[in-house]
C-alpha cells in the first residue's frame, strides 16, 4: 500500500530531549483524538490538542529547570494517562488535566537522565546509576560500568519478577533482576533507545526493539536465561543514529508498524513481512533531529498521524489526511481562512517583538558606552555527536543548534581528512595553515540559510592524537560562538567488543609499575574510544576492542601495579607502548615495560589485510577500465567479442563506480597501515627501517601476498 504522508507543523516549544513527548489516550467515548503532552528544556510541560489547525492548550506549567524526560503511567492494566516528568533529582506527576499529584525528591546525587514508569514502580537512571522505587520507596540499585542510554521494564506479570532493562553505551543491553545483573546482551552498536515490541513486549512480553547510535535497529527476546536475537536492520545507507521508536498501525493493515526517528531528521516507517522481518514502507526527511515519535490521531478523527518532536522544539505531524481538499469550494475556503488568520496573527506578533528587540538592541549599544558594563550572552545549546562508523572506519561529527547556523570553523592539531558529505550543502573552504602553530586543519563551513544541522565526516590516522575543535556561530544577535572539543585518540579506529579469539597469534605488552588502577584506567581511556571516563568498580578490569579498519583485536586487562595488553596487530601494541610511556613519564611514575612479539602475528595481520587489499586493487583496476570499455561499446555495434570479464564490468559499471566513490583513498589507507606494520615490526627489534619503505612500496605496487610476507620476514 502506498503511504502518502504530508507534513503539518503544530507548534514550537523549547529545546526537547529524547523521549519527552507522548500522546495521551483519548478520554471518554466522545473524544476521538489524542492530546499531545510535551516537556522542554525551558521546564515547561504542556498538554494540547488540535482543533481546526489551532493548538488548544489543556494546561501549561511555568518555566523552571529543564525537563529531560516525559513518560506516561497508569495502574496495571488501566489506561496510561498520568504524566511523569523528571528534572534534576525530582520526579513530578501530573494528571491529564494538569493537576500535580506527585512531587518526589529522590535525593540522588546524579541528575536523573532516564525515567520509566510501570504502575507504582519508578525506574530512574542517572549517567551510571540505576534506581528502582516502588510507591516512592527505594527498592533496588545497580551501578553500571558505562553510561546508561535508556531504561525500560518488561510488562509486569504477577508470576514473574520485575525485569528492568538498561541500554548501555558499551554496546550492551543489561537485563537486571533486583539489584543484580541477570545477563548482558551484546548488540551491534551502542544502544540509544529501547522500546517494547508491539508496545507490550510481544506474545511473551519479553521482546525489546532497540536502536543504536550508529543507526541500526534490532529485536531481542530477553527470556530468563539467555537472549534470543530475532532480527537486525543494518544501516547500509548510513542514516543517522536512532533516537526514538514507537509501534503504531499507520498503514491500517491490522499489524503494528515500527516508527523510527533518527538524529539526521529521517522518519522511517517499517512494516513487517510474512516472516515478521521489518521492511521499509515509507520515509520522510526533516531537517532537525527527531527526539520523540508517536503514532496517533491528533487533528482530524479518522486520519492516522505520526507525531514527532524535533530537537529545536517543533511538534510536527506526518498525516495521512490529504492536504489539498477537493470536497468543494466551501471547505477549502474555510481552511484557507483559518490558516490566513494564523499567518496574520504571527505577523502581528513578530512586528511587536521586532519593536521590542530594536529597543533592547539600542539599549545594549548604549550600555557599551559604560565603562563598567559587561557583555554576557547566555550559552546556546548545541546538540553534537562524534561517532565512529564501523563500515568505513571514519568519524561522523554532527552539530545541531536551535537557530540557523551561520558558519562553523574546524580546527585540528592533528592531521585528519575531511570528507565530503552529500547531505550537507554548506560551502567549505580550506585555509592555509601552519603545523608549527599547531594547526593541521583550518576549514570554514559557510552554511546556507536555514541550516540548523551540519554533518561532517572525518578520517583520522591511528597513532596521531590530539584535539579537534569546532567553533559554531549561529545567526543570532548579539553574535557569539561556542567551541566544542573532541579528542582524537591514539587508537581512534578501535571500537568496544565483547568477544575474544584465542586462536590468534598475540603480541603482549606488560607494564609493571607503581600506579593505581585509576591512573592506568585514565591512560587507557586516553588511548581508546568508547570507554567510560570513571574508573570501573572492582580490583581488575578487562576490556576488548576490535579495529574497525583491519578487524584486529586488542585486549586490555589491568589492575593496580600491572597492566597487560594483547593484540594481534603489532602496530597497535607499538602505539600503546609509545603513548603509555609518555604519559607515565609525564606523571613521573616508574614503569617496567616488557613485551613479547609473536613472529607469526605479522603474517597473520597481513593475511587479514589481504582480502581487503586484493578487493580494492581489483576494484581500482575495474573502474579504470570502465571508460575505455564504454568507448569501445560505442564504436562497435556488437560487443559480443568481449571477454565475459569485460562484459561483466560493463554491466556492473555503475555499481563499481559508486562502490569506488564510497571509499576514497581506501587503498592509500591500507598501504599506510602496511607501512606502519613494517616499521613497527622492526622497531621492536630495535631497527629503524624507514629507509626501506620505498622498497616496500615497490613490493606493494606489484602486490602478491607471498612476496609481501617474504619481504616482511627478510632480515634487514
Amino acid at each position: 500500500m502506498e503511504l502518502n504522508l504530508a507534513r503539518v507543523d503544530y507548534l514550537q516549544v523549547g529545546i526537547t530531549s529524547e523521549k519527552s513527548m507522548r500522546l495521551l489516550p483519548p478520554s471518554g467515548k466522545k473524544e476521538q483524538t489524542n492530546k499531545i503532552a510535551i516537556a522542554d528544556h525551558n521546564g515547561v510541560l504542556q498538554v494540547f490538542g488540535m482543533k481546526n489547525g489551532e493548538a488548544q492548550h489543556v494546561f501549561k506549567t511555568l518555566p523552571g529547570p529543564k525537563i529531560l524526560r516525559l513518560e506516561l503511567g497508569g495502574p496495571t492494566g488501566g489506561i496510561k494517562d498520568r504524566i511523569f516528568i523528571t528534572s534534576g533529582s525530582l520526579v513530578k506527576g501530573f494528571s491529564k488535566r494538569g493537576k500535580q499529584f506527585l512531587d518526589f525528591n529522590t535525593n540522588l546525587t546524579e541528575s536523573i537522565q532516564h525515567l520509566y514508569v510501570e504502575a507504582a514502580d519508578l525506574f530512574l537512571c542517572g549517567n551510571y546509576v540505576y534506581n528502582h522505587y516502588r510507591d516512592c520507596q527505594d527498592q533496588n540499585y545497580y551501578l553500571c560500568g558505562d553510561t546508561i542510554n535508556d531504561v525500560l521494564c518488561l510488562p509486569l506479570d504477577p508470576t514473574q519478577p520485575v525485569t528492568p532493562v538498561l541500554a548501555c553505551q558499551d554496546r550492551v543491553i543489561r537485563v537486571l533482576h533486583d539489584s543484580t545483573l541477570l545477563y548482558e546482551v551484546e548488540v551491534p552498536g551502542p544502544p540509544q533507545t529501547l522500546c517494547l515490541y508491539g508496545n507490550n513486549g510481544g506474545e511473551d512480553g519479553d521482546e525489546i526493539v532497540y536502536g543504536t547510535t550508529d543507526g541500526k535497529l534490532g529485536l531481542v527476546q530477553t527470556s530468563s536465561e539467555a537472549p534470543h536475537y530475532r532480527w537486525e536492520v543494518p544501516n547500509e545507507k548510513r542514516n543517522g543514529g536512532v533516537l526514538c521508536i514507537d509501534n503504531y498501525d499507520i498503514t491500517s493493515d491490522g499489524i503494528l508498524d515500527l516508527l523510527v526517528g533518527r538524529d539526521d531528521g529521517l522518519v522511517e516507517i517499517y512494516g513487517y513481512d510474512e516472516s515478521d522481518e521489518p521492511a521499509l514502507r515509507a520515509s520522510q526527511q526533516c531537517s532537525e533531529s527527531i527526539t520523540s515519535i508517536c503514532g496517533g490521531v491528533v487533528s482530524t478523527p479518522g486520519y492516522d498521524e505520526v507525531v514527532c518532536s524535533t530537537y529545536a522544539g517543533w511538534v510536527l505531524a506526518l498525516t495521512t489526511e490529504p492536504q489539498h481538499k477537493s470536497l468543494g469550494a466551501g471547505t477549502q475556503a474555510q481552511v484557507d481562512q483559518s490558516v490566513h488568520n494564523k499567518i496574520g496573527n504571527l505577523k502581528k506578533e513578530i512586528e511587536e517583538m521586532q519593536k521590542r528587540v530594536l529597543n533592547e538592541r539600542e539599549h545594549y549599544q548604549v550600555t557599551a558606552q559604560n565603562k563598567k558594563a559587561i557583555s554576557a550572552v547566555p550559552h546556546f545549546n548545541i546538540n553534537h555527536k562524534f561517532v565512529l562508523n564501523q563500515e568505513d572506519a571514519s568519524y561522523t561529527l554532527s552539530l545541531e543548534v536551535q537557530m540557523a547556523i551561520d558558519n562553523v570553523l574546524l580546527q585540528s592539531d592533528v592531521p585528519i581528512d575531511l570528507l565530503d558529505v552529500e547531505k550537507n550543502s554548506a560551502v567549505v573552504s580550506f585555509s592555509a595553515c601552519n603545523p608549527e602553530e599547531g594547526n593541521f586543519l583550518l576549514a570554514t563551513y559557510r552554511c546556507q540559510a536555514n541550516t540548523t544541522r551540519l554533518e561532517l565526516k572525518i578520517r583520522s590516522i591511528e597513532g596521531q592524537y590530539g584535539t579537534l575543535q569546532a567553533y559554531v556561530t549561529p545567526r543570532l544577535q548579539p553574535k557569539t560562538c561556542q567551541v566544542v572539543k573532541y579528542r582524537i585518540r591514539p587508537l581512534s579506529l578501535h571500537q568496544r567488543s565483547h568477544t575474544s579469539d584465542d586462536n590468534r597469534p598475540y603480541n603482549t605488552l606488560r607494564i609493571v609499575g607503581n600506579f593505581s588502577l585509576a591512573e592506568m584506567h585514565s591512560w587507557v581511556w586516553f588511548c581508546l574510544p568508547e570507554l567510560p571516563e570513571r574508573t570501573p568498580a572492582g580490583d581488575s578490569v578487562q576490556f576488548q576492542f576490535v579495529s574497525t579498519f583491519l578487524d584486529t583485536l586488542l585486549e586490555c586487562s589491568y589492575k593496580r601495579g600491572e597492566a597487560v595488553f594483547r593484540s594481534d596487530n603489532i602496530s597497535t601494541i607499538s602505539i600503546l607502548k609509545d603513548v603509555l610511556t609518555k604519559e607515565g613519564t609525564r606523571k613521573g611514575i616508574r614503569m617496567d615495560i616488557t613485551y613479547e612479539v609473536d613472529e607469526d602475528s605479522v603474517a597473520h595481520t597481513l593475511n587479514l589485510i589481504h582480502p581487503k587489499l586484493e578487493y580494492q586493487l581489483l576494484l581500482a583496476k575495474k573502474v579504470q577500465l570502465i571508460d575505455a570499455l564504454k568507448e569501445l561499446q560505442i564504436h562497435e555495434t556488437d560487443s559480443s567479442f568481449m571477454s565475459p570479464e569485460y562484459k561483466q564490468i560493463l554491466e556492473d559499471a555503475d555499481k563499481l563506480q559508486t562502490e569506488f566513490k564510497k571509499q576514497p583513498c581506501h587503498l592509500e589507507r591500507l598501504y599506510g597501515m602496511i607501512t606502519d606494520l613494517y616499521i613497527d615490526k622492526f622497531k621492536f627489534k630495535g631497527q629503524n627501517v624507514k629507509g626501506r619503505v620505498p622498497m616496500l612500496l615497490e613490493v606493494l605496487d606489484d602486490y602478491d601476498l607471498n612476496n609481501l610476507v617474504d619481504f616482511f620476514q627478510a632480515s634487514v
Binding site: R7, D9, A312, G313, D336, V339, K342, I343, L346, K347, E349, I350, M353, V357, E360, R361, Y364, A368, Q369, N370, A373, I374, S375, A376, V377, P378, F380, Q402, M403, N407, L409, Q411, D420, E422, S425, A426, V427, S429, F430, S431, A432, C433, E437, N439, T444, R446, Y471, T473, L476, P478, K479, T480, C481, Q482, V483, D627, K630, E631, I634, H635
Partner: protein, 720 residues
C-alpha cells in the same frame, strides 16, 4: 508538482556543456550532443515518415553519429543563412572549427583555429549584416559568416570560457558577452569593450535572459544574474554549475534561470531574487540544458540532459499551478518561516534579558570566576580595531599587506576568520593562534594575487583565555586596488624603470592625487602642490612604479610591467570618467620578447608544415607496405610477409613519435600565439575607448600582413 513530460535514455555518454538543439531541416528539432571518442550524435526522432507524430518508443535507430576524429570542445547549432530556415551545426575542436549542413550531409566550411575553440555562439552581432558564428579561443574571438570568411576578430584578456549574445545596452543590437579565465566578464559592442565586470573565478557559463539581463556561472560553484553591469543576485553552492539556461517555467512571462549542477540537481531560480521555484534530480551530473519544441505540438520544452545520456523534457507549468511548481504547502511554509523568525526574536530578547540580569549582579549570573570565563563575559565597551599596512617583509617572510586586528582591552582574540573572494585559496582565511600565544592582537599577512579592490569580511572571536564561548565581532574593510605597492622614500636612489607610458590628461593634478590616495595603501594622504612625482615599489618584486605629472596635464607612468601600466590607466580612467584616451608606450623589453615570440611562431609553423608533409609520406608508404605484406601472405611467402610487417611496425612507431612531436609543437605554438594575443590586449589596455579598439584592429591588420615593424609601431604610438 511539475513532472517531466518525457524521459529518454540515450545509450551514449554526453560531454558536459556540449549540448545543442538544431532544426537542421528547418522544421524538426534534433538534440545534438558531443560524446566520447570525438563523435557528435544527432538525435532525430521526427523522421520523415512520422512527421509531427508522437515520439517513437524505440530510440536506437534515431541516432546519427558524426565522426569528428578529434576531441570535441564545443558544439552549437543556429541559423546562419538568412534565406533558409535550416540550422547549421558548428563543432569546435582544439585546432579546427567545422560548420556542417546536416540536411545535405556536407561541410559548409572547415577552418583552422590556431587559438583553439573553447566556446562558440551563433547569431547576429551588432550591425554586422549576416549572422556570424563566433568562436572564443585562447585570448581571441573570431567570427565567421556562412561562407567561412572571417568577418570579426578581436582579443580579450585571457582564455575565453563562455560566450553569449545579449542586447546589453538596449540598442536593439546584440552585444557579445565574454567570460574568461582571468575572472572577467567583458561586453563587446562589435569590437569595442563597453563594459567590464570582475568576478571571483573563471566564468564557465553565460546565458542571455530577457532584455539586458544575463545569467552567469563560475568555476567555484557560484551562479547569478546581471542586469547590465550590476549584479542582481548570486548564490554559491559546494557543487559546480555545469549549464545554465533561461526559460519561463512558471509561465509568468519572465524567464527563470535554470541551472544544471555537477551533482545531478536541476533548479529554476527567479531572475529577480534567486529564489528556487523548482528543482529536480538526475542520478548523474547534468551535461546540458536546451529548449525546443521536441514533441512538435507547438510548445517549447525545457530539455535537460545528464552525462550518462538521460534526457528529460519539462513543459511550462499551467495556470492552475499558480507558480507553485514544487509540491509544497505554501501556507505551511510561511507559518514555519514566521514561527522560526518569532523563535529567533524570542531568543534574542532572552539574550538581552540575561545580559541585563548578569549586569545587575555583583557576581554575574551568580557564577564564579571560572564560569565567568567560560561564558566569555567581556567588558561591554570592548571594541575591535583594524588597520591595514604595507609590510616590506623580512628574510623569513615575503613582503605583504598586513591586517592588524586588536581589541581595546585585555580580552583575547581566539581566532579570526576573513571571508574574501579571489585573494585566498578558498573563500576564507583563518588565523588560529596557538593557545600559548593568545593575545589581544593578531597580525594577518595578506598577499592579494591580483590588483583588484577586495572587501574583507572579518569575523573575530573575542573572549577570555579558556572560554568556551566567544563574542563574534564582525566588520568589513576594503582592501584598495593597488595595495601591494608601497610608497618609496623620495630621497632613496631608485633606478628608474626603462619602460614608460606617456599620456595627456585634461585634469588637475589634485584629482590624480585624490585617486592615488584612494587606490593605494598609504600611511597618510599625499598632498601635492605643483608637479607630481611619486615612486612606489611593488611587493610582488616587479620593480618600481613611478608617476609624474606636469601642470600641463602630461603624465608619465614608468614601470617595466606592461600589465600593471594597463591596470593603472584603466583604473585612473574610470575614476576620472575619461571616455577616450591615447597614449605613447615605450616598452623595449616587452617588444623584444614579442619579437622573439613572433620568430618562434614562424619556426613552429614551418616545423608543422614539415611534419605534415612527412606524415603524408609515411601514410603512402604504409599503404604500399600493407599491400605488399598481404600479397606476400596470399603467396604464402611468410618470410616476406614478416619482413613487411616488421617494417610496418617500425613505421608505425615513427608515426607515433612524429605525432608526439607534432603535439608538443602544437602546444608550444598555442602558447606563443596566446602570448601574442595577450601582448595586443596589453597594448590595447594602455588606451581607452575608441583608441583601444583602433589599436587592436590595426594590430590585427599588421599581423595578417605579417608586418612586424608596423605592429611595433602601432603598439608604441597607438595608431598606424
Amino acid at each position: 508538482m511539475l513532472v517531466p513530460v518525457f524521459t529518454l535514455k540515450l545509450s551514449h555518454k554526453i560531454n558536459p556543456r556540449m549540448v545543442a538543439i538544431g532544426h537542421y531541416d528547418g522544421k524538426h528539432p534534433c538534440l545534438t550532443c558531443a560524446t566520447t571518442a570525438g563523435k557528435v550524435f544527432i538525435h532525430n526522432p521526427h523522421s520523415r515518415g512520422t512527421r509531427g507524430g508522437r515520439m517513437e518508443a524505440s530510440m536506437d535507430s534515431d541516432l546519427n553519429l558524426l565522426n569528428i576524429n578529434q576531441a570535441v570542445s564545443c558544439v552549437t547549432a543556429g541559423q546562419m543563412n538568412p534565406e533558409t530556415k535550416n540550422d547549421v551545426l558548428l563543432v569546435g575542436t582544439q585546432t579546427n572549427v567545422l560548420a556542417y549542413d546536416v540536411e545535405n550531409n556536407s561541410d559548409l566550411f572547415y577552418k583552422d583555429t590556431p587559438d583553439g575553440a573553447n566556446a562558440v555562439v551563433v547569431g547576429n552581432l551588432g550591425s554586422i549584416e549576416n549572422p556570424v558564428a563566433i568562436i572564443g579561443g585562447n585570448c581571441s574571438l573570431q567570427g565567421y559568416d556562412l561562407e567561412g570568411t572571417d568577418t570579426y576578430w578581436t582579443v580579450t584578456g585571457d582564455n575565453v570560457c563562455s560566450l553569449c549574445l545579449v542586447d546589453f545596452n538596449g540598442d536593439n543590437q546584440n552585444e557579445l558577452v565574454v567570460g574568461s579565465e582571468d575572472f572577467d566578464i567583458r561586453v563587446f559592442r562589435e569590437d569595442e569593450i563597453i563594459s567590464e565586470m570582475t568576478e571571483t573565478e573563471a566564468i564557465t557559463s553565460l546565458c542571455g535572459m530577457q532584455d539586458s539581463r544575463f545569467g552567469y556561472a563560475l568555476a567555484n560553484g557560484t551562479v547569478g544574474v546581471y542586469d547590465k553591469s550590476s549584479r542582481y543576485w548570486r548564490i554559491k553552492s559546494k557543487n559546480h554549475a555545469i549549464s545554465i539556461h533561461a526559460y519561463d517555467l512558471d509561465s509568468d512571462g519572465v524567464s527563470e534561470l535554470i541551472t544544471g549542477w555537477s551533482n545531478g540537481k536541476i533548479d529554476a531560480r527567479s531572475d529577480r531574487s534567486g529564489e528556487v521555484i523548482f528543482k529536480d534530480n538526475f542520478a548523474q551530473a547534468v551535461a546540458g540544458i536546451v529548449e525546443g519544441d521536441y514533441r512538435m505540438d507547438g510548445t517549447d520544452l525545457l530539455i535537460c540532459c545528464s552525462v550518462d545520456g538521460e534526457v528529460r523534457g519539462y513543459q511550462p507549468a499551467g495556470q492552475e499551478m499558480k507558480g507553485n511548481l514544487m509540491d509544497t504547502n505554501v501556507e505551511q511554509e510561511t507559518i514555519r518561516e514566521l514561527s522560526q523568525r518569532k523563535q529567533n526574536l524570542l531568543l534574542e530578547l532572552k539574550n538581552y534579558e540575561e545580559n541585563q540580569k548578569a549586569a545587575n549582579m555583583d557576581r554575574p549570573s551568580g557564577l564564579g570566576e571560572l564560569d565567568q570565563q567560560q561564558m566569555g563575559i567581556i567588558p561591554a565597551n570592548t571594541q575591535l580595531q583594524t588597520t591595514l599596512n604595507v609590510n616590506m617583509g623580512s628574510e623569513s617572510q615575503r613582503p605583504h599587506v598586513e591586517l592588524f586586528i586588536a581589541t581595546t582591552n585585555e580580552t583575547i582574540i581566539q581566532a579570526v576568520l576573513i571571508f574574501a573572494e579571489g585573494i585566498f585559496d578558498g573563500e576564507s582565511h583563518v588565523v588560529h593562534p596557538p593557545t600559548a600565544t593568545l593575545s589581544s592582537s593578531v597580525r594577518v599577512p595578506i598577499v592579494p594575487p591580483k590588483d583588484v579592490p577586495v572587501d574583507l569580511h572579518i569575523k573575530a572571536f573575542v573572549g577570555n583565555k579558556n572560554s568556551s564561548q566567544f563574542h563574534v565581532f564582525e566588520l568589513t574593510r576594503q582592501l584598495p586596488r593597488f595595495s601591494m605597492y608601497s610608497l618609496a622614500d623620495p630621497k632613496a636612489e631608485i633606478p628608474l624603470p626603462k619602460s614608460n607610458v606617456t599620456l595627456t590628461l585634461n585634469e588637475r593634478i589634485n584629482r590624480v592625487v585624490m585617486w592615488v590616495n584612494q587606490t593605494f595603501l598609504l600611511h597618510e594622504d599625499i598632498v601635492s602642490e605643483g608637479p607630481l612625482n611619486l615612486t612606489f615599489l611593488s611587493l610582488r618584486g616587479s620593480g618600481p612604479l613611478c608617476f609624474s605629472m606636469e601642470q600641463s596635464g602630461q603624465m608619465t607612468i614608468r614601470t617595466d610591467d606592461m600589465d600593471l601600466a594597463g591596470d593603472v590607466i584603466q583604473a585612473l580612467a574610470t575614476f576620472l570618467n575619461i571616455e577616450d584616451l591615447q597614449s605613447i608606450a615605450e616598452f623595449p623589453e616587452d617588444m623584444e620578447t614579442l619579437r622573439q615570440v613572433l620568430v618562434k611562431v614562424d619556426e613552429f609553423h614551418s616545423v608543422r608544415q614539415k611534419l605534415t608533409a612527412e606524415m603524408a609520406d609515411h601514410s603512402n608508404l604504409i599503404r604500399s607496405l600493407v599491400v605488399r605484406a598481404e600479397d606476400a601472405r596470399l603467396m604464402s611467402n611468410m618470410k616476406h610477409m614478416r619482413q613487411g610487417y616488421m617494417e610496418l611496425y617500425n613505421l608505425n612507431r615513427d608515426l607515433i613519435n612524429g605525432y608526439k612531436i607534432r603535439c608538443n609543437n602544437h602546444d608550444e605554438l598555442l602558447r606563443c600565439l596566446k602570448s601574442v594575443n595577450q601582448a595586443i590586449q596589453r597594448a590595447g589596455r594602455l588606451r581607452i575607448g575608441k583608441y583601444k579598439t583602433q589599436v587592436i584592429n590595426s594590430c590585427r591588420t599588421a599581423m595578417r600582413s605579417n608586418n612586424v615593424s608596423l605592429l611595433f609601431k602601432i603598439m608604441k604610438t597607438g595608431s598606424s
